[in-house]
């Protein structure tokens, strides 16, 4: 069905709201508007492309030139009232613009191309500049070198990539691999186990909420929460303050400085991520479990399958697609998350992962190296993208 629409030369063949002849009368309208949208995109790209150094004053706001109170309030609000006002103004302004666009295209003789521009135009502008072009520029930057002021300074071929794959950064890669595999694995294992355990019990809703809560907490706050678990050993002779060390002490072990020991530190941080992601895995998997048709289970039961065997031979295979989805989703999240390592990793290379290495490079204006890290992240994600697009196409066909 989508194929057909794709080939449709004009709305006529689709479910066009209007007859084709009207479209023809004003056929210049659509190209014009899309031309304007294209110009806006090119303008945005040019703004971000031309070197900063030669920039003149910013277009909208310039705090050195003592702007009027309106512009100061709009762009640098300081008091509570100003902030709330600028928020309301922003929403109102946005509504007004969107309202105007919809009002303009909501008339009988407007061609589909123009209507489309109204519906899709803003999104196309935002995504073209914000993600598509930005991504391309980052890829280009990954082949450039930068001076200490952060300005591009010629191309260096694959040097930045060489840095990603050598020296201390090999540890970063190893850790990232650990994250990508261990976090989804444990999140799904715990999530599935828990989903099965609490399924259809009286306390299901509450029990699920408890596990799900960490998902709603920011990773920064999670970092604080877990800081009190991983606190370094107390001075000799004193009681342990960190929960982990207190437990270790309780069972007669030697308290550890968890974060500073490799590979303990990486595992300690992975546990935090598992703690956060399990709720998500549990929720989705639980719904999948509930969707397993009863007759299949009945049939298996009649064949004598019970307990774990029923689970592994019947339930698990039937929710396999969902498990795959959850695994890949959590894996990608683990790859892209930097907050946990940034807040808890102790600035130690042995705890580092790609997303945080990217951030560290950015902070010290190594834009080329940062770009290389970002591209590596993207490359690792690519197979998942391809897989997902295929699945999506399949789903479309089945629709």
């Amino acid at each position: 069905m989508t194929e057909v629409q794709d080939r449709a030369p004009s709305p006529v063949q689709g479910r066009a709201p209007r007859p084709a002849n009207k479209t023809k009368e004003t056929s210049w309208g659509a190209p014009l508007i899309w031309g304007i949208i294209g110009l806006v995109i090119v303008g945005g790209i040019w703004l971000g492309w031309s070197p900063l150094k030669q920039g003149s004053s910013p277009i909208l706001y310039d705090n050195a030139k003592n702007p009027g109170w309106i512009s100061r309030m709009l762009f640098q609000p300081t008091t509570l009232g100003q902030k709330l006002l600028v928020m309301v103004v922003a929403i109102a302004l946005f509504l007004a613009i969107m309202g105007l666009i919809l009002w303009l295209i909501d008339r009988p003789k407007i061609p589909t191309g123009v209507v489309l521009a109204g519906f899709l135009g803003p999104v196309v502008i935002f995504l073209s500049i914000g993600l598509l072009w930005s991504g391309i520029k980052t890829v280009i930057q990954s082949f450039q070198k930068f001076d200490d002021a952060g300005a591009a300074n010629g191309f260096v071929g694959l040097d930045n990539y060489a840095k990603v794959f050598t020296g201390q950064n090999t540890q970063v890669l190893i850790n990232s691999v650990l994250w990508i595999f261990l976090v989804p694995l444990f999140a799904v294992a715990f999530g599935l186990l828990y989903a099965v355990l609490v399924d259809r019990t009286r306390f299901e809703a509450v029990a699920k909420s408890l596990i799900f809560l960490p998902t709603a907490i920011s990773m920064v706050a999670s970092g604080i929460i877990w800081r009190y678990v991983y606190l370094a050993p107390a001075p000799s002779g004193k009681d342990q303050i960190g929960l982990a060390n207190a437990l270790v002490h309780l069972v007669g072990g030697t308290p550890q400085n968890w974060i500073t020991k490799a590979p303990l530190g990486t595992f300690a941080l992975i546990i935090v991520m598992v703690w956060i992601q399990t709720g998500f895995a549990m929720t989705v998997l639980s719904a999948a479990l509930k969707a397993v048709p009863d007759d299949i289970i009945e049939a298996a039961r009649i064949d004598g399958a019970t307990g774990p065997r029923l689970f592994f031979s019947v339930m698990l295979p039937s929710i396999r697609p969902t498990v795959v989805v959850v695994l890949t989703t959590v894996a990608i999240a683990s790859l892209k998350t930097f907050d946990i390592v940034n807040v808890m990793g102790g600035n130690l290379p042995k705890n580092n992962i790609l997303a945080n290495a990217f951030y560290n490079a950015l902070v010290v204006r190594q834009n080329g190296l940062a770009g290389a890290f970002a591209v590596v992240i993207f490359i690792i994600v690519t197979p998942v993208i391809i897989f997902n697009v295929r699945q999506m196409k399949k789903a479309e066909e089945n629709r």
């Binding site: 709201p17 971000g48 004053s57 640098q76 902030k83 935002f126 609490v198 997902n388």
Partner: protein, 309 residues
């Protein structure tokens, strides 16, 4: 992402579809949980997942210097007394930027950063779902792919644009960024929801002479309220809990609570032990409240197959 792949119908649907067998299953479940091992294991996991947060909550109410001298499991014994004063100190910033400043910034950042992408995505999703045009598939796949693009790749170039335009350190750069980063998922999710609406409804409206705008506003929008709610919660949690975008684009007066807390971790030695816990708890309150009150929608959004990766 990959919502499509998940063969996970909304729970309500199956329940209604299989009400008959539900009771039988429920009785099965009872037998299952009556196994002490199973319930013990469930309780153990629940405890493991709750204790760290509980510990922070306790520490946030212990008087100085207890949190840095003894574990939270000592509660308020000995020289430690229960106090809510830590919250006051954190709230007023203990000489630094008051926490409420950060929370206000978070609110001011979050509302438009949720509202704007949803509106834009609704329009785009409508176009993808119900307006036939050339290249639609390619464009839609492009949007879909952008969901998984690490936002890291976009930060620097965007910052350059903001510097040029003069939007740096204002709320506008943060709103725009969150809008951009939220759009792909929003479009994808809302598109999926829209596709589920029976075409006959739209056809009927068309026959009545309604154009796209009217169909969108009068027919589709009311039906999409649950979908909008579910994505709104996603986007809300994402924006409220975001650190990376905030670190990159916020300025003196626009830093949100996550950045405030991250700053506190850098700022304080052990002395921060009485400020950090209440600050972290305060930062959690809003997302938890939103989550708990709108949990139903949130889970529904999850089951529609997407999460932000």
């Amino acid at each position: 992402m990959t919502a499509v792949v998940a063969p996970v119908p909304a729970p309500e649907l199956q329940l209604s579809a299989r009400k008959l067998k539900a009771q039988q299953r429920a009785s099965d479940a009872k037998t299952k949980l009556s196994s002490p091992w199973a319930s013990g294991l469930a309780i153990l996991i629940a405890i493991l997942w709750t204790v760290p947060t509980f510990g922070l909550l306790i520490n946030s109410t212990r008087s100085d210097p207890a949190p840095q001298q003894s574990g939270f499991w000592n509660f308020w014994n000995g020289s430690t007394s229960f106090t809510l004063g830590n919250y006051g100190t954190a709230w007023s910033g203990n000489g630094g930027t008051p926490l409420y400043d950060f929370i206000i910034n978070s609110v001011v950042i979050t509302l438009p950063a949720v509202f704007i992408p949803i509106t834009l995505a609704l329009l785009a999703a409508y176009a993808f779902a119900w307006i036939p045009f050339r290249g639609k598939n390619i464009l839609f796949i492009a949007v879909f792919v952008m969901q998984v693009v690490p936002i890291q790749v976009a930060l620097l170039p965007l910052l350059t644009v903001y510097v040029k335009v003069g939007l740096t350190n204002s709320f506008w750069s943060i709103w725009l960024s969150h809008t951009i980063f939220g759009l792909p998922l929003a479009i994808f999710l809302l598109h999926n929801f829209m596709k589920e609406i029976p075409p006959s409804l739209i056809e009927a409206a068309r026959v009545d002479g309604a154009g796209h705008v009217k169909i969108f506003l009068k027919v589709l929008l009311p039906l999409l309220v649950p979908a909008i709610a579910s994505f709104a919660i996603f986007q809300f949690l994402w924006v409220w809990n975001d650190l990376l975008v905030a670190l990159t684009f916020s300025g003196e007066n626009t830093a949100p609570i996550t950045q405030g807390i991250q700053g506190l971790t850098t700022q304080f030695g052990s002395g921060g032990s009485t400020i950090l816990p209440p600050a972290a708890i305060l930062a959690m309150l809003v997302p938890l409240a939103v989550f708990l009150s709108l949990q139903r929608f949130f889970v529904r959004g999850l089951l529609a197959g997407s999460v932000k990766g």
